[in-house]
Every structure is written in structure tokens, then in C-alpha cells.
């Protein structure tokens, strides 16, 4: 077995250091403009971080050691215990997957060898999108396009709850590429539970609210599609929205230079949410016959965009892949870890959460290995716990932004945490199988 090294010296190389252009790992937006001061082992976000970022970076580092059965052990002992659990498992599950691209590469390598199942904690939301991609496809855009082009933005959920800086970084742009100053934008909020307070700002010309239950947004979008085809609506109100309001929205859509519809799959917490996404994507496609429109899917927290991308390029399939047969098999229902836990088909759980302490492992009685942050929230003591470095704080790495395409570098902020790198830990477990 290869011995794994914990991080370097327990004391930071220099007493203090300033970092600029730091990428934040605390939501899928991955803002890369943070300024961070390090004094000793403590970090302070001095510019551009939202509350979530501050809370995330500024958690005081506390000493954390690997444990087996609740007892402190050496890293190598923990690795050996983890390997033993995986070795004796008929179908191990690799879940959580709160990590970056390199971390996910190590997970895939281990799961491939261990003949396990790979699924992210956000796997269900991701699967909703994948169902649409794999049946119909879509027409999408990315943040910089939205920032500079979008003059009509249709929201289907309160994005600010997920991405505190979305409006600041993408919508409230004082200068844009194709207009003098800000783009004059109309913001349409379809659905429920919006906080409209923080939406106003440079460029936001008008805010239109269309109230309906979240699970009826699909009907509203279908009504828009019907109207834009020149067909009559079947009723005077659709999902409680009166016809004139729908006609007004249709007219706004047709007037737009670049319309964008935004959704967050995990925010659609109702059955068959993929059908709502389906309708959104079909409407966007239809609008493109004559004019320009695009979709934008957000969320992507806890490294889920990176996890799905790596799974796809290494196995051919997005998340919810099983290597049980030796070859990858993909099935978004069968290989969902929540289902496998419930049915008892999986008999060991490896849970990785190296980005935040919040991605709690699901309740289960099967042997569990948690590879997590030093301050990982644990509902119960796992059989093996290995604290690891957070990429973007204690280790270098790369992470993919929620809109795909853009991959940002993650920095080591030199707080010399002494925490082991999760890649080294996963590689060592693999070598010990």
C-alpha cells in the first residue's frame, strides 16, 4: 500500500498573504473575483464575496484527524479501513461528490476499479436536465452572453436564493458590449416566492410578475408557445394567469432581441419536473425560428457540474453510472444512490464532501466512509472519517461553472492546514483495494 502524506507543515509559510482573483467554491456561479487576506491560518474575504462566501472561507480551521469507529487513527490506518470496507462490498456507492475536476477524476478511477455506482448529492436535479437533453436537446447560453445581450430575462425560480451575486455579476452591469451603458432589460418572474427587493439595479428597466404555483410554470410556458404560434388558448386563465397577461408576455418575448429563460432543476421540487424543463426548452427552440432566444440552467452547487462533466468524458455517461458489470451502465432511476440505499442494493457508502461541511451523508446503516471537510457535519459517526483539504482553499484544482464551458482555476491559499488532499486519499484507497 502506498503511504499517503498529510499536508505539509502545520504552520503557514508566511504570516500573512493577500490573494486576488480568487475563485469561490460555495455555489455554482464560482465568482472568480474575490479578494482574500490570510493571517496565519485564518482567512478573510475583503472584497467581492457574498455572505455565503464569507461564511465558507472564514470558518476557523480546527484540528481534525482521521477516525475509524470514532477513534483517532493515522491516515494510513483510515485508508486501510476504507479499502477493507470497499473490498468486502458487493456494490459500493460513491456519493456526495462535493469536489472539483481532479477530485472527480480520482473518484471515477476508484469507482471503476471497485465496480461501484457514482451519483452526486444533487443527482436528482441534474437527472431532470439530462432527461431533457437526452430526449429533445436544448438551445442554451452562458453568463457573459446574458450579461451583454439579454434584454428579456424570464425567471422560473428565485435565483438569488441559490446565487447571491447573480444580479450583481450578470444583470446589473453598468457597461455592456453592445449597448451604450447597461442593456435595458425586462425581468419577468414566473412562479412564486420571489424576493423582488434586490432585483432593481442598473439596466433593470421593468419587472413583470406572473404568479402561479411552481408546478404549473410549464403550463404558462405552453400557453406562451400556443400564443406565439397564433393558436387560441383553451381557457381564459392558464394556471391562474389571465389571458391578457399571457398575451402581454408573448408580445414582450417577440419584441426581445435576446430573450433568456432561466431555471434551476433542483428548485422544481415536484414530480415530473423534467416536463416543465422540457416545455421551457421547446419554447426556446421555437422562438429561435425567427429570433434569438436561449435557455440558462443554474444551480450546480457542490461541484455537481464538474462531477457530471468528468463522469461523461470518462465513462460516456453523465452521473448515475454503475461499473458493477465492469463496463459503465447508465440509468438515472436505477443508479440513484437514494434508491439504492432504500432498496438495500448497495452495501457500502463512500461519501465525499470536500467543498463544504453541509453536504451531509444520507442516513443509512450500511458501512459508511466519509471523506469530508475538517468540520464536516455528521448525523452519526461513520465507520471511517477522513478529513481532507478543500480545493480552492487548501489545494489547487479546477472547477466548472454551472453554465458549462467555463472552468476556473482553484488556488491553494497557503493556510497550511495539514489536511490530506482528497485525490491522494482516493488514490491510496484505490491502490489498497
Amino acid at each position: 500500500m502506498t503511504a499517503v502524506q498529510a499536508g505539509a507543515s502545520p504552520a503557514p509559510a508566511s504570516a500573512s498573504e493577500s490573494f486576488s482573483n480568487v475563485t469561490c467554491v460555495f455555489c455554482g456561479l464560482h465568482c472568480d473575483d474575490l479578494e482574500i487576506e490570510r493571517t496565519g491560518q485564518s482567512l478573510q474575504v475583503t472584497r467581492n464575496g457574498c455572505g455565503k462566501a464569507k461564511a465558507g472561507f472564514e470558518r476557523p480551521l480546527v484540528k481534525s484527524e482521521p477516525r475509524v469507529g470514532g477513534q483517532p487513527v493515522s491516515l494510513n490506518e483510515a485508508v486501510a479501513a476504507a479499502a477493507k470496507i470497499i473490498r468486502s462490498s458487493a456494490l459500493p456507492s460513491f456519493g456526495g461528490l462535493g469536489t472539483d475536476i481532479d477530485g472527480m477524476r480520482a473518484v471515477m478511477s476508484l469507482a471503476d476499479k471497485a465496480r461501484g455506482v457514482v451519483d452526486h448529492a444533487m443527482g436528482e436535479g441534474y437527472a431532470q436536465n439530462m432527461r431533457v437533453l437526452q430526449t429533445r436537446g436544448w438551445f442554451m447560453t452562458t453568463l457573459t452572453e446574458v450579461r451583454n445581450r439579454a434584454d428579456l430575462l424570464i425567471f422560473t425560480t428565485d435565483v438569488l436564493k441559490y446565487h447571491h451575486r447573480f444580479f450583481e455579476r450578470v444583470i446589473h452591469a453598468p457597461q455592456t458590449l453592445f449597448a451604450d451603458g447597461p442593456v435595458k432589460r425586462t425581468i419577468v418572474l414566473i412562479g412564486e416566492g420571489y424576493d423582488t427587493g434586490p432585483i432593481s439595479g442598473p439596466g433593470v428597466d421593468e419587472i413583470v410578475t406572473i404568479s402561479c404555483a411552481s408546478d404549473r410554470i410549464g403550463e404558462v410556458i405552453s400557453a406562451l408557445a400556443t400564443l406565439s404560434k397564433g393558436a387560441p388558448l383553451p381557457a381564459e386563465t392558464i394556471a391562474g394567469v389571465p389571458k391578457p397577461q399571457l398575451e402581454d408576455l408573448k408580445a414582450r418575448c417577440e419584441k426581445a432581441n435576446y430573450g433568456v429563460i432561466i431555471w434551476i432543476p433542483s428548485a422544481f421540487a415536484f414530480a415530473n419536473a423534467d416536463l416543465t424543463i422540457h416545455r421551457i426548452c421547446d419554447f426556446v427552440k421555437e422562438m429561435n425560428v425567427k429570433q434569438r432566444f436561449a435557455g440558462l440552467t443554474l444551480g450546480g452547487s457542490e461541484g455537481s457540474t464538474s462531477a457530471a462533466a468528468v463522469a461523461a468524458w470518462q465513462s460516456g455517461y453523465p452521473l448515475r453510472v454503475s461499473f458493477a458489470s465492469g463496463a459503465p451502465q447508465f440509468d438515472p432511476e436505477l443508479y440513484a444512490i437514494p434508491r439504492l440505499l432504500k432498496s438495500g442494493e448497495t452495501d457500502a457508502l463512500v461519501w465525499l464532501s470536500s467543498l463544504t461541511p453541509d453536504l451531509a451523508a444520507p442516513q443509512t446503516s450500511i458501512p459508511t466512509i466519509v471523506i469530508g471537510t475538517f468540520d464536516m457535519k455528521l448525523d452519526r459517526e461513520p465507520d471511517v472519517f477522513i478529513p481532507v483539504a478543500t480545493p480552492g482553499i487548501d489545494a489547487r484544482g479546477q472547477i466548472m461553472r454551472v453554465d458549462g464551458n467555463v472552468v476556473l482555476p482553484l488556488r491553494d491559499l497557503h493556510r497550511a492546514s495539514g489536511l490530506a488532499n482528497s485525490i491522494a486519499v482516493l488514490n491510496a484507497i484505490e491502490a489498497a483495494l
Binding site: 457573459t144 450579461r147 429570433q291 461523461a312 468524458w313 460516456g316 463496463a327 447508465f330 479546477q398 472552468v407
Partner: protein, 561 residues
């Protein structure tokens, strides 16, 4: 340790060796001339076998955002070709959009030792390099896309000084760790975002007022003056549009002698004659290519069956969505920088259009005279997956076989092609040129694609089987850097493969000052984070510590003029 490859029939066109029996000596991964006192520590008796440098694919979509969309979108295609983990190899899947590992294994098993991703978006460079890093066995590199990016178009609009433009091109190549520069539907990807649906060579982008002609010429001349070996890699206007041969002919003339490479030219060689208003323009284009030594091409041959098309050309891919099979597709606008479109496609020999596309590609191969200026590609996976290369080679080398295949296609297409009247058969030497020596020369890979002293010992050995498809499907041996990696078409040793880049000179300070402001004012990513560091490429899967291996190879450039 000196290895001797004894008595093979060597096809090494770069060194003028055409099937002569030669011994080749390799030490420390390089071809060497041994001295009389050297002792030979290993010997391979290759009597009767055919020896070539490892194959080099100069245009194959092996990594990056659009390929990963294709993978995610097509589980039904992978399911026919799931690949189990082996003793040496990782699990994955194959066919149209293979997993990275399987792509690497299959290239090597087919005797290829390098493949180049031709459409890396600068904003997507990290993903592209990560995927290439996870593509084992072969060397890689990527061509960065320019020409629909806002910054470049702005430079043209304001008539920027040509040194400033060259600096920006060079900066982008460094930032994205690129080997060459590609332009896709020049200015058209941007135009589509302003709702323009087509952009011909002399049409203006509605916002910037620049034409594809301006863009191609500026990129072509700048790259030449920067000393970048590979000329501007042009995916022209109007891909797939009947009548686009006129645009292609005009593009060749527009180059005015500047070196250009026209890629997947098959998709740009269509006329509008006949009942279907779709005809072959191959003869006219081949003629003009023959007359213009500044022009090189690759074909982008289509072969029948299911595949997926993945391109940066969002405008034309959107146009092609009508033909999507199965009926699903993705188009994207990306970061005021680029775009992409992914459309599954099933080419059928009983479809007039598909059958004629097949014939047009073959006509092009057979009518262009100089094999140093035409490379064998299917534009993987757009015309067909790269695993069809052995079949394509047989079509080129075996007239009887070709004519048999011709008789199976749509009768209207048979009548519309001159293919049946062409008697040319490619020789092994010509195949070695267009699959090795030619691409290496064009890309500036001085120590690849040949077997002279100093060459990297990437060597493929074939049985001299008269069935050329069988021969090129299953090489007897493949060596990478002198190590045997494939025996009888099976992987016997896994290696990482290197990434090749070029780094033209530029003034970094002068270039980055305005760029830094530009990124901060308009983009959602900082310039400093747009730029990729060397360690990010090197650590991508090679398993070596930064700086301790040859995994990042900086190819020489000429002096800046």
C-alpha cells in the same frame, strides 16, 4: 538500450524512403544512427512487414465542451459499445462520441500515435485539456478558435494596428495552450447571435461591420508573420449549404497566396445542379487546390451509419437541426467568444444527398494530386467516427472495392458522381504521406511523422495484407517513444501521451493591459483566470510532477516578422 527493428519495408516519405527494406534503430525513445560498437539489446524481426511512423490525425474532435455534450446526449449510442475495464485499461464506451480513455486506446490500436482537437474555445481550454489529458496512448494538441470572439472582431472594426492584432492572437495561443488557430464560420458564430442566419464571404457582420474575408486574411497573415507553423485552419462559411462550392472557390482566391488550410472540405464542396439541386463541386475545387500551392485541405469524409456532428459553427448547426437523427440537438451561444452545435446524424447510402456527400469526399481525395496537401480525416465524429479510417483507406487504395461500394448507393447519386470513372489508387507511400508525414509537416511537428535520425520513435508495424482495411485495422505492433504499446491490435502497455503547443512571441505587458480592463468591465471571468498555467496542462492526467516530464512539448516557431 538500443532496439533494432530489422528488415521491414519502410514507408518514410519525409526521408524519401518508399517501401525499401531498412533497419531502424531506437535509443531512449528516438530513432538513432548506431555506431559500429553499439550493442543491440532488443530486436524485432519485421521481415515482410510494413513499417511507418505512427499515424497523426490533424482534425479530430476528441475533447472539449461540445464533445462532452455529445456524450451526454447519446446514451443509446454508447450502449451498443460499452467497454469493460481490462487488466491495463479503464472502462468506458465507444462509437460516435467515445469516452476519452476508449478514444485513446482505439487510436493506438489502429496505429495512430497523435490526434489533434481542432476546435478548442479559449474559454473552454481547461476542459479541453483535461479531456485530452484523460485521453491516453496518443499525443494531443488543440487549435484555439478565433474570429467570432468579441475582442478580435473589435480590433478589426477599429482598424487596430497589425502588431496589436498579432499580439492578441499570440496571447490567446499562450492563454489557451494551443498548437494552432482555427476559424469557424468566420464572424458567423457572432453574427448568429445578432440573428443573422447566414454570412457569405463578403457579407458584413451586422454589429462589427467586418466580413469573413477580412477575418480569414487577417488571421492567415498574422499567423504567418508570427511564425506559427500551421496555417490558419479554416472551417469556411456556409457549411453544408448547396452551392457553397462558390464560397469555397472564392475563399481559396481570397487567400491571395497566404497559406491556408481548408478543413473538412467535403462539407464545403456542393453545387446546385440536378433534380435534387445538389451536386458535386469536388472537381472544380480540386482543380483550384492543385493550382494553389499555398492551400492544404483535409477531407471530412462521410461514411454511412449513425454518428453525431459537433461543431463550433452554431449558425450552420442550427440550420442542420432539421436533419437531426435521432431528433434532438443542442446549440449554444458561449461567452461572447464562440458557440457550438451538436446534432446527431445518420448518413444513409440510400439517401441521395448522403450518398453524394460520400462520393464527393472520395472524388476530392482522388482528384487532388499532391498528397502532401490533403489529409485523411472524417472530421471525427462529424463525417464518421475515426474508427472507420481503415475502411476509408481501403476505399482509396482499392478501386475494385470502391466501385463495389459505389454500386450500393442511391442510383441518382451514382449517376451524379464521376467517381466510377476515376482509376487512381493510393499507394502505401501516399497513405503514409497523408496520414503521417503531411500532417506532421503542416503542424510543425519536426520530430514526428517520420523515421529519420532524431525522430520520436512512434512507429507502427503492419502485416502487408492485401485487404488494406484489415491491415490498417490491426497493426502487428505500435511503439510510442520506442516502447511497445500495442501488439496484434491490442493494448499491451498504457502511456499518457504528450500535449503539443506553440508559443509565438508577443508583448505581454502591452497586450494584457487593455485585456485586463476588458475582462473586468464586460466579462464574468477575470483575465488572470482565463489564462491557463503550464501546471494545469501537465497535471492533467499524466501522473508526473509538474516540470518533470515531457508531457508538455513546446514546438518551435519561426521568428516574428
Amino acid at each position: 538500450m538500443l532496439i533494432k527493428f530489422t528488415g521491414g519495408k519502410v514507408y518514410d516519405p519525409a526521408n524519401g524512403i518508399d517501401g525499401q527494406v531498412r533497419d531502424i534503430y531506437v535509443r531512449d525513445g528516438r530513432v538513432v544512427t548506431p555506431s559500429a560498437t553499439d550493442t543491440i539489446s532488443a530486436e524485432y524481426n519485421l521481415a515482410g512487414k510494413v513499417v511507418m511512423a505512427g499515424g497523426i490525425d490533424p482534425h479530430s474532435h476528441i475533447g472539449g465542451g461540445k464533445m462532452n455534450i455529445a456524450r451526454m446526449m447519446l446514451p443509446e449510442d454508447h450502449r451498443h459499445d460499452n467497454v469493460a475495464r481490462g487488466d491495463l485499461t479503464r472502462a468506458g464506451c465507444g462509437h460516435a462520441a467515445p469516452s476519452t480513455f476508449v478514444a485513446g486506446y482505439r487510436y493506438a490500436e489502429m496505429g495512430y500515435t497523435a490526434a489533434f482537437e481542432p476546435a478548442m474555445l479559449a474559454v473552454n481550454a481547461r476542459q479541453t485539456h483535461a479531456e485530452m489529458g484523460d485521453t491516453p496512448m496518443i499525443d494531443k494538441g488543440a487549435y484555439v478558435l478565433l474570429g467570432s470572439d468579441d475582442y478580435f472582431l473589435r480590433l478589426l472594426t477599429r482598424g487596430a494596428d497589425k502588431e496589436e492584432i498579432k499580439d492578441y492572437i499570440a496571447w490567446t495561443m499562450h492563454a489557451a495552450q494551443a498548437l494552432a488557430v482555427k476559424v469557424v464560420n468566420p464572424g458567423g458564430i457572432s453574427a448568429f447571435k445578432f440573428n443573422q442566419r447566414m454570412l457569405d464571404l463578403d457579407e458584413k457582420n451586422a454589429f462589427y461591420g467586418v466580413t469573413p474575408r477580412d477575418i480569414i486574411l487577417t488571421l492567415g497573415r498574422s499567423l504567418q508573420e508570427l511564425g506559427v507553423p500551421h496555417p490558419v485552419h479554416v472551417h469556411g462559411c456556409n457549411l453544408g449549404v448547396p452551392g457553397n462550392k462558390e464560397t469555397t472557390l472564392a475563399t481559396i482566391r481570397a487567400a491571395e497566396g497566404t497559406p491556408i488550410h481548408l478543413t473538412h472540405i467535403q462539407f464545403h464542396s456542393y453545387g446546385t445542379e440536378g433534380d435534387f439541386k445538389f451536386s458535386s463541386g469536388a472537381a472544380e475545387i480540386a482543380e483550384l487546390v492543385n493550382q494553389n500551392p499555398n492551400v492544404s485541405i483535409d477531407v471530412g469524409q462521410i461514411l454511412f451509419g449513425q454518428t453525431v456532428t459537433a461543431s463550433g459553427d452554431s449558425m450552420r448547426q442550427y440550420g442542420n437541426t432539421k436533419s437531426a437523427n435521432p431528433k434532438k440537438w443542442v446549440v449554444m451561444d458561449i461567452e461572447c467568444d464562440a458557440g457550438c452545435g451538436v446534432v446527431p446524424m445518420k448518413y444513409r447510402d440510400k439517401s441521395f444527398v448522403n450518398a453524394l456527400q460520400w462520393a464527393i469526399g472520395l472524388e476530392m481525395f482522388l482528384l487532388v494530386k499532391d498528397p502532401w496537401r490533403i489529409f485523411l480525416t472524417t472530421d471525427h465524429p462529424n463525417g464518421a467516427p475515426f474508427t472507420t479510417y481503415p475502411h476509408l483507406i481501403r476505399l482509396l487504395m482499392d478501386k475494385t472495392f470502391r466501385n463495389e461500394m459505389l454500386r450500393r448507393i442511391h442510383p441518382g447519386a451514382q449517376a451524379a458522381t464521376i467517381l466510377g470513372s476515376i482509376t487512381r489508387e493510393y499507394s502505401l507511400n501516399e497513405i503514409a504521406i497523408m496520414t503521417r508525414a503531411g500532417p506532421a509537416k503542416s503542424l510543425g511537428l519536426k520530430d514526428r511523422g517520420h523515421l529519420g535520425p532524431g525522430a520520436c520513435a512512434d512507429i507502427t508495424v503492419y502485416d502487408d495484407n492485401p485487404d488494406r482495411e484489415a491491415m490498417f485495422t490491426t497493426p502487428a505492433f505500435v511503439f510510442k517513444n520506442g516502447e511497445m504499446i500495442v501488439r496484434n491490435g491490442r493494448i499491451v502497455h498504457v502511456v499518457a501521451g504528450a500535449t503539443h503547443v506553440v508559443r509565438p512571441e508577443y508583448d505581454r505587458k502591452r497586450t494584457e493591459k487593455p485585456l485586463k480592463d476588458y475582462f473586468e468591465t464586460y466579462h464574468t471571468m477575470r483575465m488572470e483566470n482565463f489564462r491557463m498555467a503550464d501546471e494545469e496542462v501537465i497535471t492533467a492526467g499524466c501522473g508526473h510532477a509538474p516540470g518533470t516530464c515531457g508531457c508538455l512539448i513546446v514546438q518551435p516557431v519561426g521568428t516574428r516578422k
